[in-house]
């Protein structure tokens, strides 16, 4: 696409990219940590996308299946997907044999290209959204990450997964077809280890991101997740939670966010004034703040304001 080539051309000329990073080698340093029997996690940075982190901000899970490894979410780029391929072979010589995408945000599925000949599972809504919005996400990612994205093409998931008990490559899961972070958010309970894999319905010590959010539906999904008796929880971003703290934290943040925006609208504030409001200490300490709050103001405030302000004709 012209827009992407244009962006890379600018980067090459040093017009946009800080030179040190433009010239740095673009290598992802992926370290899987075993979190349960036959289950490894690669923990992402809790920052926002940057030239420094190459978009490696997302949690990835690898699980033993009958024929190889099951990969949960594939990372932000082709290069990341290729790095995952290498890491996976060190855990299991057969490598990744099936992939699951929790939702259609680019950090969770742009590595699919490295696994394009294997089944890639997702909710139907995720498949549709990946096709509808993938290209515009790609444009934004090329602009944010430059050369880290080189060669990356949008490869949407191919296999639709439904709710209930499902087997993926011989491994048993209970699938929860939820939403609210996006139109379709898949949570999985791994039956063998009792691990709840929430995708981006849950963030932990990292501010929740809202570019596709429906806050009411998201809260309902958190209620469903709260009912799951899980030994541990792997959030989409942030560390493993063994103390059942991550769901209440995400719920608290989203409640505070919506209250803050509605109160601001009722008091006649506009976005710049809201962005300048200091965050409560417990949220200011989260990863990616205050940037994520500022982005949420941009995503959510125009709609909320129209609901809160009366008609004047």
């Amino acid at each position: 696409m012209i827009t992407r080539r244009y962006a890379l051309g600018l980067l090459g000329a040093g017009a946009l990219a800080p030179r040190a990073f433009a010239q740095a080698r673009h290598v992802y340093d992926l370290t899987p940590v075993q979190i349960a029997d036959g289950m490894w996690m690669i923990e992402g940075s809790t920052d926002y996308f940057s030239m420094q982190n190459g978009g490696a901000i997302v949690n990835i899970v690898l699980m033993k299946g009958d024929s190889g490894l099951i990969l949960l979410d594939s990372g932000p780029s082709l290069r990341y997907g290729e790095a995952l391929t290498t890491v996976a072979r060190q855990l299991d010589l057969r490598g990744v044999t099936s992939v699951v995408n929790t939702h259609h945000h680019p950090d969770h599925f742009f590595g699919n290209q490295a696994f394009a000949d294997r089944p890639i599972y997702a909710l139907g809504e995720t498949l549709a959204a990946a096709k509808a919005e993938g290209e515009s996400f790609a444009d934004a990612m090329y602009r944010l990450l430059g050369d880290w994205m080189r060669g990356t093409e949008v490869v949407p998931p191919t296999q639709v997964i439904d709710g209930g008990n499902v087997m993926i490559d011989g491994r048993a899961f209970h699938a929860l077809p939820l939403g609210g972070h996006t139109a379709g958010d898949l949570a999985l309970v791994d039956q063998k280890t009792g691990t709840l894999l929430t995708g981006d319905l849950v963030f932990y010590d990292r501010a929740p991101a809202t570019p596709s959010a429906d806050l009411t539906r998201w809260q309902q999904s958190l209620n469903e997740l709260e009912k799951v008796e899980a030994a541990q929880l792997v959030p989409g971003h942030g560390p493993v939670d063994k103390t059942r703290a991550a769901i209440p934290q995400t719920r608290g943040y989203l409640t505070w966010l919506e209250d803050t925006l509605r109160t601001a609208a009722r008091n006649g504030l506009d976005m710049v004034e809201i962005m300048e409001t200091p965050l409560p200490a417990e949220y200011a300490a989260m990863g990616a703040e205050p940037g994520e709050f500022h982005r949420s103001v941009a995503h959510l405030f125009p709609g909320i304001e129209l609901q809160e302000l009366p008609r004047a004709n």
């Binding site: 710049v272 941009a298 004047a312």
Partner: protein, 261 residues
């Protein structure tokens, strides 16, 4: 209506070229070093002699534009007396002029949203009644969204029914007025979609006194949204909103303190 192609096109028609032109009558040292200010000083402001950058003209926006079609901006020149008008503009973009604000009886301060095309310096050029031009700036990075629309759906079927719908109200005690007018604000940069924009909005008291006035240009966001500021306690019970677009559609509404919908 297709909105994203419009944005792509806007990206392509404008290349940041260094324009060869004569120097302005008063050459300023641009704190943003954008390379385009001299050009706008001549073309947009008419090459005034009495002009300088002034820290009292405050321009506040996000560091980076998350939604390139809805970038919030707050321009505050309330440290300056005797303001006649404020021209808000972007150094880089296919159409630099965003709006002109005539504060009349309001504070020289306005909140707005606009469409950004690329990372650029944003200016507020304040003209006083005694002929001075005082300029304030900020820089907004659009690399995080740039010309690319974020994940919003801009297609809608019912825009014609909603055309000219106004939401808003007053807060007399704090001297605030907020108004949002439903309008596509098509820039005309896309093939087959002509320019379709609100050109002016006036705010009048019950007695018909002009309280404030905005001239809008293509870069103002879809569904223009403005905050106006008055000295606390000076607003009457209502503010009448009157305007028209370039197709002759009239815009009429009344802002009051009522909270009811």
């Amino acid at each position: 209506m297709l909105r994203r192609p419009l944005i792509y096109l806007a990206c392509l028609v404008w290349a940041p070229v260094a324009l060869a032109l004569e120097d302005p009558k008063t050459q300023l040292k641009d704190p943003m070093k954008s390379g385009m200010w001299d050009y706008h000083q001549i073309e947009l402001l008419g090459d005034p002699e009495n002009i300088r950058f002034d820290d009292r003209v405050i321009v506040r926006g996000p560091e980076s534009a998350e939604d390139s079609l809805n970038v919030p901006l707050l321009v505050d020149a309330s440290g300056i007396k005797n303001v006649k008008r404020i021209i808000v503009s972007a150094d880089y973009g296919p159409i630099p002029h965003i709006l002109t604000y005539y504060p009349e009886k309001a504070e020289p301060k306005i909140g707005l949203r606009f469409k950004i095309d690329q990372a650029t310096a944003i200016r507020a050029s304040v003209e006083t009644h005694d002929g001075q031009w005082l300029i304030g700036s900020t820089y907004i990075d659009a690399a995080g969204g740039g010309c690319t629309a974020p994940a919003h759906a801009y297609a809608s079927d019912d825009w014609e029914e909603k055309l000219g719908e106004i939401h808003g109200r007053l807060w007399a005690a704090s001297g605030r007025a907020r108004v949002i007018v439903d309008h596509p604000m098509d820039t005309g940069l896309s093939d087959g979609i002509p320019v379709f924009i609100i050109q002016n909005l006036s705010f009048e008291s019950d007695e018909g006194d002009l309280m404030a006035r905005v001239e809008l240009y293509e870069p103002v966001n879809e569904d223009p949204a403005f905050s106006l500021y008055f000295e606390p306690g000076t607003l009457g019970g209502t503010l009448h909103v009157k305007g028209r677009d370039n197709n002759g559609n009239r815009i009429n509404g009344v802002l009051s303190e009522s909270e009811t919908h």
